[in-house]
């Protein structure tokens, strides 16, 4: 029983990490309608930035979150402006190839600059764990849990109650109608891509104390992030959040009760079942919106 509770707690905390990584991907997909295969590499860039800020300026990643989010916003906006925008008229698979190419280029750039070594920041309090009623909770993961909730709530407020948020939602709903209403759609796309990348920048700052960074670290997380996004109904932020929780729980429980190397089998089987029985995802808006 104790083990079960520990696994559930662990699954929820793991889920919040998947959530904070996936929210940006959902935003980019939902608004810009581009499947960003370089998402994991954005995380990697953010983590190297966190490492450099910690190593050169002694900045704790939590404090470094602000410059990293700004940096990733700039990178995301630049990618949209100079890579995706010229291809918006082209077929969808061309955009996919562009992001795949970007991902390969970023991995190799990191190899060139940092080599294949792993870098980690000096141990900090975030790595420790607290005991609550006999169960161990990692502090860094608790921070992630709180931040994931705050991020989703913050984005909700932003989308619902600001003019820019309304413009973004309008663009996501119907690009042409928004254009006719005087929304500068191209600018909205640049901003939305930037926000999506900024979210993964926040994730990078939170992940850095717990995981060392290597050029291929993105591939550790990105497949799960895609599953979470589809599970959550592709465009729904809230869906992504709950999808992440489900994957976290499945990950934790099946790793213990079935086998650690089979946990992916379990959650991909679940994923397929959901796609078959509810193709728009758990929180999708119904057919035609995916």
């Amino acid at each position: 029983m104790d083990v079960l509770i520990q696994l559930v707690l662990n699954g929820i905390l793991l889920g919040s990490m998947y959530a904070i990584i996936s929210v940006g991907l959902t935003l980019i997909f939902g608004i810009v309608r581009v499947v960003n295969f370089a998402h994991g590499e954005f995380l990697m860039v953010g983590m190297y930035a966190a490492y450099l800020l910690a190593a050169k300026f002694g900045l704790h990643p939590y404090a470094a979150a602000v410059p990293i989010v700004i940096l990733l916003f700039a990178i995301g906006a630049a990618v949209q402006r100079f890579l995706i925008q010229p291809l918006l008229g082209a077929e969808e698979h061309i955009q996919i190839f562009a992001t795949v190419g970007l991902s390969t280029a970023l991995v190799n750039l990191a190899l060139l600059v940092f080599g294949a070594d792993l870098y980690s920041i000096p141990p900090s309090a975030a790595q420790g764990s607290v005991m609550v009623g006999g169960f161990s909770l990692v502090k860094g993961q608790l921070v992630m849990f709180v931040c994931a909730l705050a991020l989703v709530a913050g984005l909700h407020l932003f989308m619902q109650s600001t003019a820019l948020g309304r413009a973004i939602r309008a663009t996501a709903q119907n690009r042409n109608a928004a254009l006719l209403m005087g929304v500068k759609v191209d600018q909205i796309y640049v901003i939305a891509f930037g926000i999506g990348a900024g979210c993964v920048g926040l994730a990078a700052a939170l992940v850095m104390p717990l995981y060392p960074v290597t050029p291929t670290i993105g591939t550790y997380f990105v497949l799960t992030a895609f599953v979470v996004v589809v599970l959550g109904g592709m465009r729904s932020m809230y869906g992504a959040f709950f999808g992440a929780m489900i994957i976290g729980l499945v990950d934790s429980l099946s790793g213990y009760y079935i086998a650690p190397d089979l946990k992916e089998v379990v959650y991909f089987a679940l994923f397929l079942a959901i796609l078959i029985f509810k193709p728009t995802g758990l929180f999708g808006l119904g057919r035609g919106t995916e």
Binding site: M17, F82, L83, A105, D117, S120, T214, S252, A259, P260
Partner: protein, 409 residues
């Protein structure tokens, strides 16, 4: 602006393409060898470290007059992946016409390149790749000085019986053993040998848990080990999963009596720094000979480290350079005694090599089987103590006493 952006992206991508490093063609009165290592790409760090050992062996030999009066000249081949290993091996054998190739650090590269040299009847000297099949395919001209994956696995299991059980004052059969490993070919192979050896020796294996090396959460693995009450954990892993395992083991308050790993995932300083010296304290590691080894059991090890530092300005980054240095020296001596680079004469000379254990810089001996495998290469047992990796077993090579437990406690 658009054009500029595209040009910039194209330039960035071109810059990421690794360029093969080559040396000028050979002069007369020299003997030419190929040095086939991954000099770029993901394997470059330890590939280059391996090459440095070979380079130092060549310099030492040339300073002492070369091979039978001829200077050794080597031509580099950059093997980033198995395809390129084949391509570079072809270039070295047919265009540069080298007399032998030395390499390779990575097993998949070695397996690919040796097929080319075997067909060309050119000796291939493997100094660092550990996959067993390299010298199990019945090739005539492939020789290897270093220990294989099976030797590593056997040493790990035997260490439980010969070192850990005595230190804990228990019978080996009373210890509960957990075997965990990443689930690619590397982990599968080593853990397979471990299971076989543990069964043969009558040890009590309570859990065998494979996991993906890309796993971001090993808590389920740790809780399984904890529930099973595993006293000794054998892990076969890369760097990331080693770091994750140690961090999460601490988070979950799991303290086995001993944790033992092998190779890159356990030996590098990066791993220790990422885990933290105090958490890595007591972790056991089976690997190529490292530098904190008793020089009495490995004559020349101190001199090698000094030469390395004099040439490259830093301390050796891992034991790979030492293993390659030792192997290259053994084969240079064999070629010298063959008085020829003819493949059959070299083979006869290599098979005649007979160096007892404890007389080379790695502490290994050299005696080759018909298959070309060195049967006297023994990996040592090392332990992280106070942020340093020190040899603790066998006793004559040890520089410190083994302790039990994991983490500073």
């Amino acid at each position: 602006m658009k054009l500029f952006a595209r040009a910039a992206i194209a330039a960035a991508m071109l810059a990421a393409v690794p360029l093969a490093a080559t040396q000028p063609a050979a002069a007369q009165g020299t003997v030419k060898f190929g040095a086939l290592y991954p000099f770029s790409g993901t394997l470059a760090l330890l590939g280059d470290e391996s090459f440095r050992g070979f380079e130092l062996a060549v310099e030492e030999r040339n300073a002492a007059g070369g091979l039978n009066g001829q200077k050794i000249e080597f031509i580099k081949g950059d093997a980033v992946d198995p395809n390129q290993a084949v391509g570079e091996a072809r270039r070295l054998t047919s265009v540069d016409k080298v007399s032998a190739i030395f390499g390779t650090y990575s097993s998949s590269l070695s397996l690919a390149a040796t097929q080319v040299t075997e067909l060309a009847n050119i000796p291939y000297f493997e100094l660092g790749a550990i996959s067993d099949p390299i010298t199990e395919r019945g090739f005539k001209y492939v020789f290897r000085t270093n220990a294989t994956a099976r030797d590593f696995a056997n040493r790990m299991v035997d260490s439980i019986i010969e070192a850990i059980a005595p230190a804990l004052n228990t019978k080996p059969g009373d210890l509960k053993i957990g075997i965990i490993h990443e689930d690619s070919l590397y982990g599968q192979t080593v853990s397979g040998y471990q299971k076989a050896r543990a069964k043969e020796k009558g040890l009590n294996v309570v859990e065998v848990l494979p996991y993906s090396a890309k796993s971001v959460d090993l808590t389920p693995v740790i809780l399984r080990l904890k529930s099973a009450g595993a006293d000794v954990v054998l892990q076969t892993s890369y760097q990331n999963d080693t770091v994750l395992f140690f961090r999460q083991m601490k988070d979950q308050g799991y303290k086995p009596k001993a944790v033992m790993g092998a190779g890159g995932g356990y030996s590098t300083r990066d791993t220790m720094q990422a885990v933290g010296a105090e958490n890595m304290e007591g972790a056991l590691d089976v690997d190529f000979t490292q530098y904190n080894t008793n020089p009495k059991a490995a004559p020349g090890i101190t001199e090698f480290a000094a030469k390395y530092k004099a040439k490259y300005g830093i301390d050796p980054r891992s034991g790979h350079s030492l293993a390659n240095y030792m192997g290259a020296k053994v084969f240079f001596d064999a070629i010298a005694s063959a008085k020829s680079t003819d493949a059959d004469k070299v083979r006869a000379a290599v098979l005649a090599v007979d160096i007892p254990v404890g007389q080379t810089a790695t502490g290994w001996g050299a005696k080759f089987s018909e298959q070309g495998q060195n049967t006297r290469a023994v990996p040592f047992l090392m332990q992280w103590q106070g942020g340093n990796l020190v040899t603790v077993f066998p006793t004559d090579a040890a520089v410190a006493k083994m302790k039990t437990g994991i983490g500073a406690n």
